[in-house]
Symmetry: C2
Subunit: 461 residues, 2 copies
């Protein structure tokens, strides 16, 4: 098969379908399927129905499968045991849209301006789900037979941490049996620089509660005799990292994977302007571990941050109290092969050891999710690499992602699948923020790359 | 003059007047003269009018004098150049009453239960102002001639820090010319243990603002490359005191007065049960400078506390951000002869020196008020000591007060007067809190002591 010719054919079909396909996506984007807010529960069901119907229109078998939370949309095309099966994962739920006043057009009134489609969910993740779906449509236009069997799992709780999906996967293990897992929910590195993400950091998120007296005290009358819970908590926080930004929890670095020199070289070769990036974030200067570059630090090094702190009087002016308590939220981004629960236990011991006299501190667990490291040499990754090279004319960047997609670990543990993280939106597409958008060209390239990926997968096996 | 006989006469008059006097006080307490809330501005004026009328009924000359804020009530009795003049200072404004739901009877519906008069302001300070006024009434009942000239300055802004009183005193210096200043706005040490307060701590109250980036960042995507402003601020806070609870601001202890061994002995002789007191505050244990007892630390040693802190996400659950900024309120209780502004400047330099890289921190001033130390050997104190001994049958305790009454410094600087701090409420009378109260016996003893004080002043000169 001449893949260059196929690529041109695919491109032609995408061109021909573009208007209709964008209209379908717009209709999908009109549904305010905000998962975190119970007021939008009907919209969640509407979005699931919309998808099921759309899959069926295109000739796929589709079902809405209940979970203990929002339903999963399942779809299937082909059952040929001679062909590999690709499972496409995505989500139809979206983030809340507020602050509404900052949107140029309504978050659920999709509009095209200057080559971008603006709406909540345009990039995250409805637009990228449609890249997968329209890749199927495109291939079906060219041929009745696809080179792969396809499964779709489109969930409705990604934006609230997929609380029910792991149990769902365990229960439906056989229904989702596949050899490859395609996920388009990460950005490209930059315009015209497609990327494959091969490392996601894990997350350990805890909350410290420090308490020293029964009630707030008068800071004049009692100042000098009791432990101040804010100062006590501040002391503990000050002992979590040293001046070189090394995390001080015993054993924290023990299982951290060492970056190979080839990996370091690869990361250093990705174009990156530190000054521009500091300007973008409004940071006075970057700080962190000296022996690692900015991209190494935010993708492949573990770190610790305080995400919130509160205690005592926080209104305007002054109030002369010694507060009874204070609390802080602490998150650690973990990398392979750190174990979140081992570190949680070590943190608990460490905090109780360094806790100042007169203070009681508890360490409560919010989240513990493992990091993910994906082999760059798998057949799936090779197929994605080739597809992206064909569409963009350049080799994709292999990059890490500092954030976490906790549910990917469940795919690994229940189905034995590593994800192929091939996403198409751009870093400035304002996901989770007002004026979320998806470039029309990104959208077309996404369809094109996905269609070619299916072909390379079919060829490679 | 037989002072024992006079004391018995005074007691008899108090007994006779008690019902009527309590009714007058109740009427005064019904006026919700909350100074901090503009909604109660009419009540402020009502309280001032009530006082002026009451003074005039008793035969004093009285005026309402405007300030740039709430008015001052002035009253005068006697102008004999042969007699000493006592200025009685107090305040007719009160703290807000919320939380209302915790009051057994309404804060402005004064009620007597089990020997206590319950109402907002009962102890702080309307009830104690009435001790002074009814002492005058009692003496006038016994004789047309008082042994002293009397001046009253009852202000309406004490609970908001007396922002206009210093200028007012400067302007009306001559009107308030006196040899003695009597203030009843501090508690007795314990039931049946009257006290004279001879040291008040000063206050330096600042706010630290720490900033590291323009906006909140995603803690996954950017974690490991920027300074975390909460952790940076926590580091600074951790450097303000060492493990021995010594404040680390350079020069902080340089001018601190050393307690004399006689003073130490005196303080140690005051009955104090550390265990009971820790239980009362709900403190696991007391902490602080090892070489000083609890009462020494809270009365005559300087200290530093954090009164409030806030930064990042403080709602329920987790949010994965690196906040852009964080802030903390810090107060220092100062003792003689520390200079608040010298320490403020040293703190600013210290903070900028220890500020972690990538962080900007400002130190803003809220309050700087000097400590006050009063000679225990003055004629006024001796007169108060004798009066208290006569009424309570025991020598008063000489104690410090950890809190501050900043306006007392203005009396010193404008009128050259040290206060005689002879208060009558008890430590558990819930001032500033729901169910504020004043014991009827305390009230009677307050009138009695004040009347005798006036006599001793008259005799001593």
């Amino acid at each position: 098969m001449n893949l260059h010719a196929l690529s041109q054919d695919i491109s032609a079909v995408i061109e021909k379908h573009q208007l209709a396909d964008l209209q379908s996506l717009k209709n999908f984007l009109k549904i305010p399927s905000i998962s975190t807010d119970p007021h939008y529960r009907n919209a969640i069901d509407d979005a699931a129905c919309f998808l099921k119907n759309y899959f069926e229109e295109l000739g796929l078998d589709s079902e809405i499968l209940p979970t203990k939370g929002h339903p999963v949309v399942y779809a299937r095309l082909g059952k040929d045991p001679q062909k590999p099966t690709v499972l496409c994962y995505g989500h139809y739920d979206v983030q809340p849209a507020d602050p509404l006043s900052l949107w140029v057009s309504g978050p659920f009134d999709p509009q095209i301006r200057d080559g971008y489609l603006y709406a909540r969910g345009a990039s995250d993740d409805k637009g990228q789900v449609f890249c997968h779906i329209h890749a199927v449509k495109t291939l079906l236009t060219l041929s009745k037979e696809l080179p792969v069997n396809l499964l779709f799992l489109i969930e409705g709780e990604e934006e609230i941490g997929s609380p029910h999906l792991k149990d769902f996967l365990k229960e439906h293990r056989e229904k989702f049996s596949a050899q490859f897992l395609l996920v388009s929910d990460t950005p490209m590195y930059a315009p015209k620089m497609p990327s494959l993400c091969y490392g996601l950091r894990g997350l350990l998120y805890v909350e410290l509660h420090a308490k020293s007296t029964k009630i707030d005290l008068h800071s004049g009358q009692q100042g000098g005799i009791v432990q101040n819970p804010i100062l006590g908590l501040a002391y503990i926080l000050s002992q979590l990292k040293n001046k070189e930004h090394d995390v001080q929890i015993p054993g924290f670095y023990q299982n951290v994977r060492t970056l190979s020199s080839e990996e370091k070289r690869m990361i250093d070769e990705i174009p990156f302007d530190e000054k521009d990036y500091a300007l973008l974030l409004g940071a006075k200067k970057f700080v962190g571990e000296k022996d690692y570059s900015v991209n190494m630090r935010r993708w492949f090094r573990p770190t610790l941050d305080c995400n919130g702190i509160v205690g005592g009087y926080t209104g305007p002016g002054s109030k002369t109290i010694i507060p009874a308590m204070a609390s802080a939220k602490i998150s650690m981004r973990l990398v392979s092969y750190q174990d979140p629960m081992v570190i949680f236990n070590s943190l608990q011991e460490y905090v109780s050891r360094i806790c100042p006299e007169g203070l009681e501190v508890s360490v409560d667990l919010h989240t513990a999710s493992e990091p993910l490291l994906i082999s760059k040499d798998s057949k799936g990754i090779k197929a994605a690499e080739k597809a992206l090279k064909m569409v963009f004319g350049v080799n994709p960047v292999f990059q890490g992602e500092g954030g976490s997609i906790p549910i990917l670990n469940a795919f690994k543990s229940t189905l034995g699948l590593d994800p192929i993280l091939m996403g198409f939106n751009l870093p400035d597409d304002a996901i989770h923020a007002p004026n979320e958008r998806f470039g029309i060209q990104q959208y077309r390239d996404g369809i094109h790359s996905t269609a070619l990926f299916f072909h390379y997968i079919g060829l490679d096996l």
